[in-house]
Assembly symmetry: C2
Homo-oligomer: 406 residues x 2
């Protein structure tokens, strides 16, 4: 696609996101639900405007989720995140173990061979932190303890997901998977997070302070973006995930004196990029697997429905893992449900390597779609929007602040 | 390149742009000069970090110049632009005719054949509106009559440049060039601008007003971005240039009640994208043609120097075309000098089709480089920075406004 055509597609993606996001909010749903629906509408199943395989669009969407996690990090208090650390860890571990075991067992019963059942089970494990964080942000509830637990668990989940991804990729390629190999991947992934947060706490505020000497508009925001993209790249190079690096950058900059200025500047950039990510997730949905009139879909719909039940029930149960807490555990459980793009990546790998057949891939797609679309309205129902939303979520954002203070 | 690597490259591009932009400003030069130098440093000639052929980076840079022209449009008063229209037209026409005739003659004398001399002459014609507009914006002088004349002339120049581009592309492909064909391209290019500005004046403010019903953060900014990208796409589809569509969108939205909010939101997005464009322009510079110790470069350096003299003198003279005006015509002339990416595109086409040899291509590259780098300091010298800069150019931008109004 040439540049002009891409600009047209991006304009349509943003217009669809804003239109359906606005409509979703009108009927009391999180805006992200509308953005996902706009993606389904613009994707290959219906209008065919958005080609999910386009290199540039794919990168813009990745940049969108990186910026989203950076924004979420900016709103996250490291001390509070560590305070709920044990609870998050319990939710994450149970939330990986339970879906995997139940999904693996179900697929064996359904007649899949061992390795196919393993891959299918794995697609049930990873939580899409992007969807949940966005919903909590839409509802103005990002700073509540339940939200912090979900956020921490989803980040740990993503780290575990990366470890599983590496192992599954090795299995798919026919390589031998050793305990030592898994241990080293695990060490690197968690090590990156701990080292970054440890070293960054001392280094980053000083780096940011240097930019005060640069007399250019938007310097603090761009310095923050440089740090976020740099840490995202570093995280990937260290065998972790880009979004974890971006999240860490946000957490580290949240305490700096420039945090408010950065938050406002990045919000404007995010308004452009973040919807592109959710529209791309929606556009990846293949509606044809849903047609019950096609007899070929009956098996897919049956195993798909069973996977949905397992996927929802097992993550919901994981919310009750920190049994010692007096918190709304249903909120935690529902927050862990959406699989989003992570589950799709696992499934795509299984399909590409021939381990999963097309029917099974379609069933997993159905499970991912349903968990992604079911969680926003459920969370909205359990957690009504906060009366006093945080500035970043407020309509008009910074401009309201300007008007108010006049 | 994978997404993580690209994020790292973008982080380095932004860091280089901010560092060298800040240094340039320290020594009293426009920031854009530093951004161009950062590009030279990161490009293939030196560090090799930025690959100018990368599909994604190329698109981000194009998006950058589209957003820049949108921002420039937002600061442009249509009434004042039309008021200086005759002067702009005179500057543009003389500024295309004179460089072409002189460059064509020089190249014939140098021994080039007729078609090669035509293509070389054509590379001297188009002004890079991006460079000049950015310098005037850096100096806080965008709203002065001289600046408006340069801006108008550069836009007309770009339209003429497109017409020439289409004709040259036809010639390079060996096609017959008819008068009717040229007339139709000309009609479409100017027709788009007139129809868009005419229809848009009535339609766009109403479209923008509809977004007031959407209760989402940053809606006016994103609606404006949708309009800008949409008009850029439409301009390209209509046979005009993307940047002209984006500029028209800016001019049309400048008068709406949401203009201030849009300006601030787009400025944050621009701080991210615009430097990527200038770094990419700098990265396209091939320093090896400058080495005087290489005997192969002597002929290149000689014809290159002659082209530079013609390029600077002819555009400078074009500034005096509106002889009836009592304005600082030297400012207008200097503002028209930079050729930037437009000249490089013409030269690249000539090289690819075999009309220009490598030495001639290098000489043209040298001319484009010099005109691009010479104009910012000259403009700065003729036009000291305004004492009271416009908010968009002020360090800190919107955040200063917040602080002030508190």
């Amino acid at each position: 696609m040439d540049a002009a055509h891409l600009l047209g597609v991006i304009a349509l993606m943003l217009a669809g996101a804003k239109l359906f996001g606005g409509l979703a909010q009108r009927i009391g749903q999180p805006a992200v639900l509308g953005e996902l629906l706009a993606g389904v509408l613009l994707g290959g199943s219906l209008l065919g405007v958005v080609n999910t395989h386009d290199h540039v669009l794919h990168f813009l969407a990745e940049l969108g989720v990186v910026i989203l996690l950076f924004e979420i990090g900016l709103e996250t208090d490291l001390v509070r995140l560590v305070a709920v650390g044990t609870a998050s860890l319990a939710v994450a571990v149970v939330g990986v173990f339970l879906p995997f075991v139940l999904g693996y067992g179900l697929c064996l019963l359904w007649g899949l061979d061992n390795i196919a059942a393993i891959v299918a089970g794995v697609t049930l494990t990873a939580t899409s932190v992007g969807i949940t964080a966005r919903v909590l942000s839409d509802l103005g509830r990002l700073r509540e303890p339940e939200s912090q637990i979900v956020l921490g668990a989803a980040v740990i989940d993503d780290v575990i997901g990366l470890i599983i991804l590496t192992v599954v990729a090795g299995m798919a390629a026919g390589a031998e998977v050793t305990f030592g190999g898994i241990a080293s991947i695990t060490g690197i992934a968690f090590g990156f997070l701990i080292v970054t947060l440890g070293v960054g706490t001392f280094v980053l505020p000083r780096v940011l302070n240097l930019t005060r000497h640069v007399d250019l508009p938007g310097t603090a925001t761009i310095a923050a973006m440089i740090i976020a993209l740099g840490l995202a790249w570093l995280a990937d190079s260290a065998g972790s995930a880009m979004i974890i690096g971006a999240f860490a950058a946000g957490v580290l900059l949240a305490k700096t004196p420039q945090a408010k200025e950065i938050e406002h500047g990045v919000a404007s950039i995010g308004h452009f990029f973040v919807p592109l990510f959710f529209v791309m997730v929606g556009a990846a949905v293949d509606l044809s697997v849903l047609n019950p009139l096609d007899p070929a879909n009956l098996g897919t719909l049956t195993i798909g429905s069973l996977l949905i039940i397992v996927a929802i029930a097992s993550k919901f149960a994981a919310g009750y893992a920190p049994f010692w807490l007096h918190r709304r555990k249903a909120v935690i459980g529902v927050g862990m449900i959406p699989r989003g793009e992570v589950g799709l990546i696992f499934a795509q790998m299984g399909l590409a390597s021939g381990i999963l057949d097309k029917g099974m891939f379609a069933a997993i797609t159905l499970m991912v779609m349903t968990t992604t679309f079911v969680s926003p309205p459920l969370l909205r129902w359990l957690l009504p929007p906060s009366k006093k939303p945080h500035p970043i979520e407020r309509p008009g954002g910074i401009d309201d602040l300007v008007t108010e203070s006049k």
